[in-house]
C-alpha cells in the first residue's frame, strides 16, 4: 500500500507503519528484524505494523527464526557497526528472553566502552491484558525502567507513535517503545475485542516527538492524573465524568517512562497538589512506585495529599474474563481514587 493512499486519520498500527516506511526511505541503514514481519500473505507482525512493507523493502525486512535473544543481540551488534535496526517481539512477555542482551549489552555498552560505542537500536513491544492468559498479558515496563543507558517510552495515540518512533530511530541510544494491544487499531481478522480508539490526524510534513517529554492532555486545577498507554485513555474518560461532578482534573500522558519528565509533571503537581497514578500491572514494584517516590522527593512541599496509586493486584494476569476485568484498573476505580484524594 502506498503511503499517499492512506487517509490522514491513522491508527497506531498505521502511523507506526508510516514512520517505519519514511525512516527506511530516508536512511538506508534503517532495517527491521522480527518474527513474521515480512511474510507475503502473512500479517506484518503480530499486530500488522509492518504489513506489506516487504514489497518495498525486500532486503530490509528480515524475518527471523523464533530466537529473540539471538536477533535482539544481532540488532545490538549491527547497531554498534553503524546500522539502525528496529527489532520487535510479538508480545511484550517475550522480552524476558532477550533481556540479557538488552540490559547487559545494549544499555551498558556506551558506559563500559568509556563513551566510544554507540547503540542506535529501536525495540518495540506490545503489552496489555487481552484475554490471552498469564504469558501473553504482562505489563513489562516495570522491568526496564531504571536500567541506566536505556530509554523507555510508551505511545498512547497515533500522532505520538509516529513522532516517537522517528525520534527513536534517529537517537544514538537504545530505545524501548511500549505499545498496547488494545490501542493499535489493527483491522480485519487481527482486530482486538475491547479495543479503544487511539487514532490521530497525521500531518503531511515530517515531524518528531521527543523521547523525554510528558504531555498534558487535559488541563485541570484540582488533581493530576498520571498514566500511559491504555490507562491514559481510561484516565481521560474518568476526567470527563469527574468534570460532571465538579472535579477539575489535569490528565498527563507520562509517555517517557525512563527518564521521567519531572519538569512537566512538577509544573502540574505545583498547581494541583494532588496526584493519582494509574498503572496496568501489579502495584508492587511498578512504574508508579518509582514515580510516586520521585514526586515526593521533589515536590513534597507542594503536596496537599499523599500520592495515590491505582494499579492491578499483585497477581499474574488471569485468563477468565471475569477475573481479568477485575484485575485491570478501569475508569470507576480511577474515579473512586480521585474522589478520595480530593476529600483529603
Amino acid at each position: 500500500m502506498a503511503v499517499a493512499e492512506i487517509t490522514k486519520r491513522l491508527s497506531i498500527a498505521e502511523s507506526l507503519r508510516q514512520a517505519i516506511t519514511e525512516e527506511m526511505r530516508r536512511d538506508p541503514t534503517v532495517f527491521c528484524m522480527g518474527e513474521d514481519i515480512g511474510v507475503p500473505g502473512g500479517w506484518g507482525g503480530a499486530f500488522t505494523v509492518t504489513l506489506g512493507l516487504e514489497e518495498e523493502f525486500a532486503d530490509r525486512l528480515l524475518d527471523t527464526p523464533i530466537a529473540e535473544l539471538g536477533f535482539f543481540g544481532a540488532g545490538i551488534g549491527a547497531a554498534m557497526m553503524g546500522m539502525r535496526p528496529i527489532v520487535d517481539v510479538q508480545y511484550g512477555d517475550f522480552l524476558f528472553l532477550p533481556m540479557d542482551q538488552i540490559v547487559n549489552n545494549a544499555a551498558k555498552m556506551r558506559y563500559m566502552s568509556g563513551g566510544t560505542v554507540k547503540v542506535p537500536l529501536v525495540m518495540r513491544a506490545p503489552i496489555g491484558a487481552t484475554g490471552r492468559g498469564s504469558q501473553h498479558a504482562q505489563s513489562m515496563e516495570r522491568y526496564f525502567i531504571g536500567v541506566p543507558g536505556l530509554k523507555v517510552v510508551a505511545v498512547s495515540n497515533a500522532y505520538d507513535a509516529k513522532g516517537i518512533l522517528k525520534s527513536a530511530v534517529r537517537d544514538d541510544n537504545p530505545v524501548l517503545i511500549f505499545e498496547h494491544k488494545l490501542l493499535y487499531g489493527s483491522k480485519g481478522a487481527r482486530a482486538e475485542s475491547g479495543a479503544v480508539d487511539a487514532t490521530s490526524e497525521i500531518p503531511d510534513e515530517d515531524y518528531t516527538v521527543p523521547l523525554d517529554k510528558a504531555a498534558v492532555c487535559r488541563e485541570g486545577s484540582q488533581v493530576t492524573i498520571l498514566s500511559w498507554l491504555l490507562m491514559h485513555h481510561y484516565s481521560m474518560s474518568a476526567a470527563e465524568s469527574l468534570a460532571n461532578e465538579g472535579i477539575d482534573a489535569e490528565v498527563i500522558d507520562v509517555r517517557s517512562l525512563s527518564p521521567f519528565d519531572y519538569e512537566t509533571i512538577g509544573a502540574s503537581v505545583r498547581k494541583t497538589g494532588r496526584v493519582v497514578i494509574v498503572e496496568e500491572g501489579p502495584k508492587t514494584g511498578g512504574v508508579s512506585a518509582e514515580l510516586a517516590a520521585g514526586i515526593m522527593e521533589r515536590f513534597s512541599e507542594n503536596m496537599l495529599a499523599p500520592v495515590h496509586r491505582v494499579a492491578s493486584p499483585d497477581v499474574p494476569v488471569p485468563f477468565t474474563p471475569v477475573l481479568e476485568d477485575a484485575y485491570r484498573p478501569d475508569p470507576p476505580r480511577i474515579l473512586e481514587a480521585v474522589r478520595k484524594i480530593i476529600q483529603h
Binding site: 502473512g42 527464526p65 492468559g133 484485575y327
Partner: protein
C-alpha cells in the same frame, strides 16, 4: 527422505488387537471434533480469548501419548488441546476451562494456552515457544533422582528449535541421560514462517547429532508409524538409554491462531497434506480389516459429537469464579 504414507497397508496393523486400533481412531476423532466444535464456538463469539488449534496433527498427540503410561508426564504448548485430550484430560474439564469456569482444569485461570491437569500427567502448557523443553528435562531429572520409572514426553513445534531453551534444555537431558522423549511436531510453519526459511537443516532430527543423542524423523500423519517410533523411544529413555529426539512431519489444517486466514500456505502443499489427513488415512485402513466397518467408525464419530455437544451446554452454564479467586493460588 522420510516416506510419507498415502495409505496405511493393513499388513502393518496385523499385530494389534482391534480394541487398541479403535481407541487410536476414537482419540483422533475426539481431538478433531473438539477442535472443530471449539472453532465454531469462537467464531460464533460465545467463547472468550484466543485459540491455537491442531486439526491435521491428531496422529502426533495420539501416537505419542498411546506409548506412555498413565503416570508418565507430558509438557505442551499454546497448541495443546490435542496433547491434553490424548493424555486423558476430558472434553468437559477443557471446555469448562475455555469458558473460564471454576470447574475448568485450571479453574479458569489458565485458559486455552495453559491446559493441564497434574493428576493426569500433564503440567500446564507453556505458551512461550521452547519454554517447556528445559522443564521436561528437569521433570525427568526428578524422576531419575527419585528412581521412579516415569518419563516425560516433551511436545514442541519446529519453530522452537531456534530458541536457546531447545539447545540448553536438551543438552542437559543428554549429558545426564535423562528419561525424556523430545517430540518436535514439524508442521512446516512457525506461525506464518515456513521452516525452510529459518533453518538450513533438511531434517530437524539432525539436531540430535549436536547433542549426541538418537534422532529420528517419522511421518506424523501415520498414527501407527508415530506410535511405533514413540514406543521405541519411550522404551529406550525409560531404560536409561538416553533421551531421544523425534521429529514428526505433519501439517496444520487451520490457521496459526483463530485470527489467521493462512494465506501464506501454498495451495498445492495444502492439497498434498489434506489428502493425507491422519484420520482419513487410518480410517481407510481400519475399514479394510475384517471385523471393522464404516458403520462402526461412524458410530464412534456420532458418540463423540453428542458428548461434545452435551459438554458445551453444561460448560456455558458452569459457575464463573468469584472475585475472591483473583488473589488465591499465588503461593503454595
Amino acid at each position: 527422505m522420510t516416506q510419507l504414507a498415502t495409505n496405511i497397508s493393513i499388513g502393518r496393523l496385523s499385530g494389534y488387537d482391534h480394541d487398541f486400533l479403535l481407541r487410536l481412531y476414537e482419540q483422533m476423532v475426539q481431538i478433531r471434533e473438539f477442535e472443530e466444535g471449539v472453532k465454531y464456538l469462537f467464531l460464533q463469539g460465545s467463547m472468550p480469548g484466543t485459540i491455537h488449534q491442531c486439526q491435521g496433527q491428531e496422529a502426533t498427540a495420539v501416537g505419542v501419548c498411546s506409548a506412555l503410561n498413565e503416570d508418565d508426564f507430558i509438557t505442551s504448548t499454546f497448541r495443546g488441546h490435542g496433547h491434553a485430550l490424548a493424555k486423558g484430560l476430558s472434553m468437559e474439564e477443557m471446555l469448562n476451562e475455555l469458558y473460564g469456569a471454576t470447574s475448568g482444569c485450571c479453574k479458569g485461570k489458565g485458559g486455552s494456552m495453559h491446559m493441564g491437569n497434574m493428576s493426569k500427567g500433564m503440567v500446564p502448557a507453556i505458551a512461550i515457544v521452547g519454554g517447556g523443553i528445559p522443564l521436561a528435562s528437569g521433570m525427568s531429572l526428578a524422576f531419575k533422582m527419585k528412581k521412579t520409572s516415569q518419563i516425560t514426553a516433551c511436545f514442541f513445534g519446529d519453530g522452537a528449535t531456534s530458541e536457546g531453551a531447545f539447545h540448553e534444555g536438551i543438552t542437559l537431558a543428554a549429558i545426564w541421560n535423562l528419561p525424556v522423549v523430545f517430540v518436535c511436531e514439524n508442521n512446516l510453519y512457525g506461525a506464518s514462517t515456513r521452516v525452510d526459511k529459518v533453518t538450513r537443516l533438511k531434517k530437524l532430527s539432525d539436531h540430535a547429532d549436536s547433542f549426541g543423542i538418537r534422532g529420528e524423523t517419522v511421518d506424523g500423519n501415520d498414527v501407527i508409524a508415530v506410535y511405533e517410533a514413540a514406543r521405541k523411544a519411550v522404551e529406550e529413555s525409560r531404560n536409561g538409554d538416553g533421551p531421544v529426539l523425534l521429529e514428526l512431519l505433519t501439517y496444520r489444517r487451520t490457521g496459526h491462531s483463530r485470527r489467521d486466514a493462512c494465506h501464506y500456505q501454498h495451495t498445492d502443499e495444502k492439497k498434498e497434506w489434506f489428502d493425507r489427513d491422519p484420520i482419513d488415512l487410518f480410517g481407510r485402513a481400519l475399514t479394510q480389516l475384517s471385523g471393522i466397518d464404516e458403520n462402526q467408525l461412524e458410530g464412534i464419530r456420532d458418540r463423540i459429537t453428542q458428548q461434545f455437544e452435551e459438554a458445551v451446554v453444561v460448560a456455558q452454564k458452569e459457575p464463573q469464579p468469584s472475585l475472591d479467586e483473583l488473589t488465591t493460588d499465588i503461593f503454595a
